[in-house]
């Protein structure tokens, strides 16, 4: 589905990453995790066609990526909603480009709004919504276009823990139902392990893939699943060289970095059952 071949990116002399090779199958949920500056966001932007590479190529089903295309749609870190449009018009915004029948647009928009539990809010404007609701609208706006690939660039990192948990479950449901190929960039280990089939670990400058961890746990997953803890620990160990940097700079979670401490984890699953 997605073939990344020998991809390089540099800004002048500064190498962001080099020689990235990655192959993603159809319907796979793949997370990319790594410390800040490893180029994970740049990578997903190149796949989206919003940024250009300085070498190598990205192939989507035998076609090389050149610019944006509605077969792969990105969900940004901040919801990036259009403030002058209400929820349903925001969701319909991209759809209008590929679908001409107003009746069909309306049906699709209503369907997706029900799916993300925002149907009651369809006439509200972005400034009237909470952060979690905005991000739901943003996800709905992308999914409604029925892209082959959904790209997500740290979509939940600006949200509080409870909202994030809720959205994890919603995203999991959407993914199980639609079986879209999802490429998901995050700096949150738990999020990556809980949601994806594969976790790609990237190292810092010059960035590159350190490891590719398969998470063979059936969906739907609960974050209390012990297999997930085990995998989390594994990813965590592999990232350890870089981890202190991430911890200080980015992680929103009150993670405890001493190994084998379980006590903190109980506190951290709070909100999962809500």
């Amino acid at each position: 589905m997605i073939e990344i071949k020998n991809l390089n990116k540099a800004y002048g002399n500064l190498e962001v990453f080099k020689a990235i090779d990655l192959s993603i199958k159809e319907g796979e949920f793949v997370s990319i995790i790594g410390p800040s500056g490893c180029g994970k966001s740049t990578l997903i932007n190149i796949v989206a066609g919003l940024d250009s590479s300085t070498g190598g190529k990205v192939m989507i089903e035998e076609n090389e990526v050149k610019g944006t295309n509605t077969d792969r749609v990105m969900v940004f870190q901040s919801a990036a909603l259009f403030p002058w449009l209400n929820v349903q018009d925001n969701v319909a915004f991209g759809l209008k480009n590929i679908c001409k029948s107003p009746q069909e647009i309306k049906e699709k928009v209503n369907d997706i709004l029900k799916k993300v539990h925002l149907y009651k809010f369809k006439d509200k404007y972005p400034h009237q919504l909470s952060g979690g609701m905005k991000q739901r609208v943003s996800i709905a706006r992308s999914i409604v276009m029925d892209p082959k690939i959904l790209l997500m660039d740290e979509p939940f990192s600006a949200l509080d823990e409870q909202t994030r948990m809720l959205l994890h479950n919603e995203l999991q449901e959407i993914w199980m139902e639609t079986k879209k190929t999802i490429l998901f960039v995050t700096h949150n280990i738990r999020e990556a392990v809980k949601l994806s089939d594969r976790v790609i670990i990237m190292g810092a400058r010059p960035g590159g893939i350190i490891d590719d961890v398969k998470i063979q746990v059936s969906h739907p997953r609960k974050s209390t699943d012990s297999n997930l803890f085990y995998k989390e620990e594994m990813v965590f160990k592999k990232l350890k060289g870089e981890i202190e940097k991430i911890a200080r700079e980015e992680l929103g979670d009150a993670y405890n970095f001493e190994e084998n401490t379980v006590s903190d984890r109980i506190g951290n699953t709070m909100g999962d059952g809500i």
Partner: protein
Amino acid sequence: MKRILFLIGLVTLWEMVYRLGIWPPFMFPSPLDVVDTLIRGFTTGNYTIALLYSFRRLIIGYVIAVVLGTVLGIIIVSSKTVDETFGTLILSLQSVPSVVWLPLALLWFRMGETSIIFVVVIGGLWNMIMSTATGIRNVDPLLIRCGKNLGYKGYKMFTKITLPASIPHIITGMRMAWAFCWRALMAAEIIGTGHGLGQILMWGRDMGNMATVLAIMFIIAITGFITDNLVFKKIENKVFERWGLSPS
């Protein structure tokens, strides 16, 4: 409440100065004289007609300034060369008070409506151009990226994303343009001819009737205040709220 007390205080002070009799009444009329002139002006219909005349010019000039300003603003941002040449010219023209154009206008369009409307257009135009250009330049790049990502480009991207995203700046520009046009109109009417408020003010001066002058000044101030605060400021606040910006 504070404002009302202040106004009462101000009028009382005015009346007291008047009673002291430092200046003769025709030079320094009492508040009552002014109120009287105002009532007479409106009951005979003179002021109403003058107000209508002024507003007609103002609205014609303002609409031209806003439409032309928006179009020119768009042209300026769309080309770097235009921006570096014409854009710089506008910046320097902005510092020229629009009434300075009146002699030229009188020469080009003769005495009458057109030259006054021309000055009104000039009054609001530069500001409108700059506001539109700034608005378009300051559109959040994320929204543009998001639009690309959803399959928008070129003309459609501009009309569906760039332009709506710059509306808060454009509205502020429109409010300022209104204030500038209003000032330009009064200046032009005082010097030019016709039946507007500015002309009545000048008659008052010529006849040595300061009550008329003050009455007209009062009308000008109130009209400006009402349109700015009750009309434009409200629209602006609403737009800013919708766009998720804090009101200025």
